[in-house]
Symmetry: C2
Subunit: 227 residues, 2 copies
DNA sequence: CCAAAAAACAACACCGTTGTTGATTTTGTA
DNA sequence: TACAAAATCAACAACGGTGTTGTTTTTTGG
């Protein structure tokens, strides 16, 4: 009763924290490898260099372990998306990030597939908001559909980060190949890929969407072009 | 010995073929649902409306069943990619195809993830060849990197087809949302998204790749553009 | 009606995984 | 040295999956 300062010194005899972290990391690796459900506690414990029963001392059940990994993942991606960067480096940054953290990219894709749903909806919302702002700005072309463009970009980058290592040079060439990738992505964003005059039907589909809308943006543009 | 025409009539008492097909279909559905490894023979048999032991009469082991599904899948996607269509419908066609066959899209993504590798490398090669031809043609802009553009497109379409059903209107609105998607994709291919003059750094990265290259393709092009 | 194919059914052995329990050992701190 | 947290270890029950076997039932072509 007389003791006013209850010593906040947490007794940490053997390194419980380190083991906890090792277990989380091992679990994450395995989950990213074959899918978030395709692992056994034994495997995780073994990879963490820890006894199986020790794992059960840190996580009551296998499901708890999965949940912990997913929560951790959600935090990290949230942080990544929060980073403020020069806009011109955004594409490189995201591509590099996923390239450097393949487990995150893979787990994200698995989540998307199994659709427990996209991890960290806040992150996704922030991303989409940025897309809308960009589309509304002076720096963007008119007529962009920001949500759809957002889908296109994130899909391309995510999937690329998974494929990059499959090239002829393997993981070694991944970085180099990725520069090729981001360059083409930037090129596409700046200029597109087709010559509009050579694709009158596409042009029509894009410019006169459903019913013949109001003729903004010069409907005769394609007619004068020749291939 | 006297019988010259040995009757080629295959005795098919109870409908073995139908069951075989039902098993394949059930397996494919389940594999697409939770991943190509995440199913049990019992589940498959149950969904196929067939006894578990009957399943083992059609496929010696679980692995055989998986193999059969994957082979079937490979054939179908190969066929899809072989279809000759007006080029302007290609994007819609691919998007619709995956939208109408979600199991195929999902299985494909799972394969890509687990990277047993891309199903049907021939299909992929044919696709990349088409991209190269397109890039080399008069209808395309100069300076395209066909392989990378190919990656971008297929990733965007595949992932979209998985996401389409997650919209607010669910599966019902998927078709409508997909038209939004393909429209934006076409728009992007025709015009890009950014105003090059507003992104000088991107422009520099794209036009003067590593060392300052030869100034082909009018480097002043972006300066005169407005919307 | 008969014979044979195809399916259903029940029972089994085997294995790996989960989660628990209780006893035992290591190790840092006081 | 003594205490106690943390990790190890062995053993166990319960469960569910795979693959097999032998038997029985249904169906259908001849």
């Amino acid at each position: 009763m007389a003791k006013s300062p209850p010593p906040p010194i947490v007794p940490r005899r053997r390194d419980a924290e380190a083991n906890h972290a090792a277990l989380l990391k091992a679990a994450r690796t395995l989950m990213a490898e074959n899918g978030p459900e395709a692992f056994t506690v034994s495997e995780v414990a073994h990879r963490a260099g820890v006894n199986r029963t020790t794992a059960y001392q840190h996580f009551r059940t296998r499901e708890d372990l999965i949940g912990a990994v997913l929560a951790e993942l959600s935090n990290e991606t949230s942080l990544m998306l929060k980073a403020k960067l020069p806009r011109s480096q955004l594409i490189d940054h995201m591509t590099d990030y996923f390239l450097d953290h393949p487990e995150i990219a893979r787990l994200w894709m698995f989540q998307m597939l199994l659709d427990i749903q996209l991890p960290s909806r806040e992150g996704w919302n922030r991303y989409m908001k940025a897309m809308r702002n960009m589309a509304a700005s002076e720096q963007a072309q008119a007529g962009i559909d920001p949500e759809m463009l957002g889908h296109i970009l994130v899909a391309a980058i995510l999937v690329w980060s998974l494929q990059a290592r499959n090239g002829p040079e393997g993981a070694a060439g991944a970085k180099k190949a990725s520069r090729r990738f981001t360059k083409e992505l930037k090129r596409l964003l700046l200029f597109g890929a087709f010559k509009p005059e050579a694709w009158p039907d596409l042009y029509a589909a894009v410019r006169a969407p459903n019913a013949s809308k109001r003729n903004t943006s010069k409907p005769n543009k394609p007619s004068k072009m020749k291939i």
